[in-house]
Each structure stands twice: as structure tokens, then as C-alpha cells.
Amino acid sequence: MVFEYAPAPESTKVVNLKTNYELFIDGKFVKSKNGSTYKTINPATEEVLAEIIEASSEDIDYAVNSARKAFKSWSKLSGAERGKYIYRIARLIQERSRELAVLESMNNGKPIRESRDIDIPLVAAHFFHYAGWADKLDYAGLGKNPQPLGVAGQIIPWNFPLLMLAWKIAPALAAGNTVVLKPAETTPLTALLFAEICQQAELPDGVVNIVTGAGETGRFLVEHPEIDKVAFTGSTEVGRLIAQAVAGTDKKVTLELGGKAANIVFDDAAMDQAVEGVINGIFFNQGHVCCAGSRLLLQESISDEFLNLLYERMKTLRMGDPLDKNTDIGAINSAAQLAKIHALTQAGKSEGAEMWSAPCEIPNKGFWFAPTVFTNVSLSHRIAREEIFGPVLSVLTFRTPDEAIEKANNTPFGLSAGIWTEKGSRILEVAHRLRAGVIWANTFNKFDPTSPFGGYKESGYGREGGRQGLEAYLKAGK
């Protein structure tokens, strides 16, 4: 039975959009020296939201020099004082959370339910957690009096724009570094609002610098000689380029890259919970999640029963206006991403897999892709090997736990995995043998500032979150 809901859109009045945005450098919004501009849109409506600067190498130079100048005093400030600034930021984020959530959904296309209940609360939590670390760095695991690295160049993706900013900036600042952060080309708006928050927090000038732009701007930042640390979240392809670009330098690097997680359901799993977990695993944030459970591994004996439950549940998913509180599936973030999803699903069909999509009404404007499942998938299919980064689930089956583990590990990625079974010893053994950085057992897609997150193999290196995440911005004291 499907309940009809009246539209319940969140008001956009809480957001004050400017027609064009400047760069945030040395504590001020400044014009580009010679950069061009582009328009950022709402992917659910294709309406232009604002004009954004594509920062040039001169702009990056200015931002990095400002961060370098600010580093001298910021790194000498006592940890307790640095911490208080970060606490201020955490509180300001909580105070302005509705505004941030609405703006995030407008610029990214994600359902307001997620930006309001997951993204923004986690952003505040990350700043709150790392604020408390600032005066406790002796306990970070690097011995007494560890030192910050210097200026961090940080590049973040469009799938969790403000959350990824928090993962990058909070530990960097707590450890005494200053930062130049480039938000993703398609989702710069909450980062620019965050710049305002830095001003309201009276954060010293130059400690946080926000520069907008696309890949070329990112390259200027990574290759800038005055950067001491590069932190990147994004595709494995770009991660490789960054690893090559920093070769032979003293720059430290953390990379949070792609994934192709297996979500393994055993025959004794609690079925309804597992169905919900699989839905959350792949359709959360339209599947724009590096740790998404994009490969469902079903034990053969329950595969028909499970798939029927899954299809029934998928039929009730609501796709549409991201600002509507009842929406489950929002818009695909960009035309380019939608084209990539189409290309890979097309490859799935032509390689012989069977495609089923939930019956959703596709809005006339914007970028949309209905929740989709592929069956008859083999390990060699592109849809089983490549990251689709969309609401597309590939289903494989297995007979024995060994076969499940073998298939789960048969990928160059190693970011996350899921296990569904009621047997405790099996959870621990499978978790032990999966080569992935985050294992969710009888749950999926859970995040917390105290919980280290990051990949094995080609999913990148370094961890974000917790004490381990702090270490990525520190070096041993003399």
C-alpha cells in the first residue's frame, strides 16, 4: 500500500543567495586577480543559483601565501585558544543548521531529510570533536609536543560538500595547520557560507581560505610549492594524478578515493533489516557515496525471496523535490554525472545483465535516475567492477562464506563492506577477512567523528576521523 503525501517543501527563505560570490582569502571576500567565472545551479531544477569564480594560479598563490602567513601565529597560539575558535565554529554551524541544510540540498540535490538530519549535524559534531583535541595533542599518538605540518591544500568532492569540508578543516585546524580548501566545482555554496561563519567566529585572517574552481584550480593548489600537506577526497583516477604530482616532494598526502563495496547478506540475516540496510547502502544520497554498498552479495538460497522484498521496498521510494521532507531520492548532482551513470548502466545491459528500475515519475527538469537493480551480474562486468556513483545496485550470489569473501575482495578498491547475519562469530570472521577500511555489520553507511574512515588498496590512504585522523595533520615533535 502506498500512502499519498501532500507536498511538504522546506522553505528556501532562510537562504540569502548572492548573485555572485568572491573568493575567501586572508579573512576577506576578494575578487579574482584574473580568473574566469561559471554558474552554479540547482540540479533538481537546473536554475542558476549564483555566479562563482574559477580561481587562477595567481589566486591560489595569494591564498597559499595568506595561509602561510597565518600559520606563524595560528600554530603558536595555545591549543586551548585554538580549540575555542573551533568550538565557536561548531556552535555557529548548529545555530545556522537549517540555512546550511537547505542550501546544501539546493546546490547538491540531496533530500532535505539527509542534509538536515545527517550531513549538517555531523558537520557540527566533527568541529566539536576536533575542537577538544586542540589542547590534547600530546595524546594523539606521536609522543610529546607534536607539531603541525604547515599549510594544508584540501580538495573535496560534491557528494557531501559541507561534511567533507568539516572532515578536512576540523582536524587540520585543531592540529595547528592553516588551510586552503577548494570545494567541488558543482557544489561551492555551503563552503562559501562556511567562510562567513569563519568571519562570525572571528577566526584569525588566513587560517581558512576558500578558493572555488574546477580541476585546474585544484591542480594549482596541489602543485603549489608552499603546500605541506595535500588532502583529497574524490575519484581514484584523480588520486593517482595527485600521488604522482607530489612524488619527490616533502608533501604529506591523504587520499580518500573510490569504492565498490560488497554488501553481503547471509541466509540467516534478519531479512527486513537487511533489506532496509541494502536500500540505505546504495540509495542513500542517490548512491553518490564512495562507500556505497554497490555490490549486493546474496546467499543463493535466499536470493529470490530477498530480491522480491527489495523490489517491493524500492517501489515505495519517493523520488523528487530534494527540499520536500518526504523525499527519499533526490536529484543526480550534475548532467555529467547523469551521463556517466547512463553510460555504465548501458554497458551493464549490453554485457548481458538484467536491469530493473523502480517505477518513479521523473520530473521534467533537472537530473534524475530512478533506483535501479541489475541481476545476472558476473564479476567481470563493468557494473561489478567500476564505481557507478549513482543509485544502481549490482547483484551477485554466493554459496559459501569463503566464496562471499573471495568475491567481496575481488576488486582493486577496499573502502567499505557490509555483513548481514545473526551469527556473531561469522560477523567477526568475515569482518576480519574483508580487505576494506570500514566494515558495517548489520548496519550500513554510519559515520561519526570519533570513528576512523578510509580505504585499503586503491581506495586511498590515511584515515579521517578520531585520533587516527588527527595524526594525518601532525608530525613528531623534536
Binding site: R240, A247, D448, P452, E458
Partner: protein
Amino acid sequence: MSNIDVKRTAKLFIGGAFPRSESGRTYEIFDNNQNFLANVALASRKDARDAVVAARSAFTKWSEATAYNRAQVLYRVSELMQGRREQFVEELNLCSKSNKHAENEVDEAINLMVWFAGWADKIAMVTGSSNPVAGPFFDFSIPEPTGVVAAIAPDKSPLLGLVETIASIVVGGNAVIVIASETQPLPAISLAEVLATSDVPGGVVNILTGSYKEIAPWLASHQDVNAIDLSGVESKAIALELEKEAAINLKRVLRPNTKMDGLTRIKTFLETKTVWHPRGF
């Protein structure tokens, strides 16, 4: 009647066996006075690849061994090194500054092996964590080995540097392919004999002799190697090339001249795995 010495053939150590280089090549090494010492196996690309295969197949079992077991196995290595102390000193002396210097290096190497052995069952306690997440979940993080590690051992410290390289990598459960000191490979060959008669499973440690300039690029670009330790690379240009090659499959890279304590070195070749489970009736 005088007795003629039986001389040892200097071979590679791959998968617990002592093969010659498949290429059939050797190179000559000399002592401080330019006297001929031995023809040492000159490892080839194929030998390096064979070593990766051996390391990969040994990795699963070694990484599954209990930490207590790994500690005992590595401690046993130090026991056997002690038994060969005189042999190591003699080999180091051939190229060393002084006898005292050689003795010190051997004693330090044995002590370092004991030190690293003791870390096996403490790494998880010190670097792992139970994470107090904001919700009804049990959440913990533990260190796990990165996998197969390729390493270029320091040329100038043919035993101590080699022991530090090997021990810091395998104590956490990794398997290693290490390129020994090119100019002074004899202590490495003796260490291989120690390892072969210890309880370290074949393939966990693989020792290649020869030119790292020739072999290392094949290991740096190898898709089944997960990390590379460039500690022994003296040329900046070569280190740059190797790091670029390593980016192909995003290997973890330890750059040359990185100053770090022993535990940080161990951690360089470890991953953090975080496991979540809900609480509830």
C-alpha cells in the same frame, strides 16, 4: 696438510628457497682492500616478480597468525642471529671501518630484532581504539597489515638497516621483498640463512641481491605490491621515478630520509580497519 675452505655460493632467497638468479647473472663483490670476495646473484625483473608471487601467497597465512605467534617467530630469529654473531661480524668487517664498529652493528641488529618482535602483540593495543560514537553501536578500529611490501634496504648499513626494514614490515603481518645492500650483500645472505632455519614461513621475507636501480622500478610498478619502502634510495631522481611508478596502484610510499621512530615505521605499513555493529536486544 692444509685444508681447503668450502666456499658458499651467494644466492637469492625467494619463497623460503635459495635459487640462483633465473637470468644466470652474477656480480663480483670486493672487500676494503679490493680483494675478490664472491660472485653474488644479480637479481632480474623475473626474480623480482617471482618474489612478489611468493610474498603474496605467504601473506594470507602470516597475516592470520596470532600476534603472539608472530612475536615468538621473530624473537626466534634474534636467537639464531645471536648464534651467528661471529659470522656477521666477520662479514661486516670485510667492508667495515673497524672491528668495534662491526660488533656494534651486529649487537644493535640483534637487539632491534628483539625490540620489534615484542611489538607484535602490542601494536593493536597502542594504535587501535574503541570509538565512542554518538549512537547505539559498538565501534572499534584495529590495525591490519597492508599486504605485500617492497623495500630497498640502506646500502650503508647492510645488517642493521636490513633488520630494521624487514622486522618493521613483517611484525605487523606483511610479507616483504627486500633488495639488500648492493655493495655489501653478504650479511643479507647470512640473514637469509637465519630466516630459512627459523620459523618464519617461506615467502614472508624474500631477499634479492643486485642493483636496486634495475629491480626496484619493476616492484614499484607491480600491481600486486601494496607499499614500497624507499629508505635505501640515495638518488633523488630515482626516488622520484619510483614514487611516480608507485602511484599507479596507489601504493603506500615511505620516502627516503624520513625520520621516524620504530612504531611510526611499523604503522607506515598498516591499515586501520573500523568495524561497526548495532547494540540492541
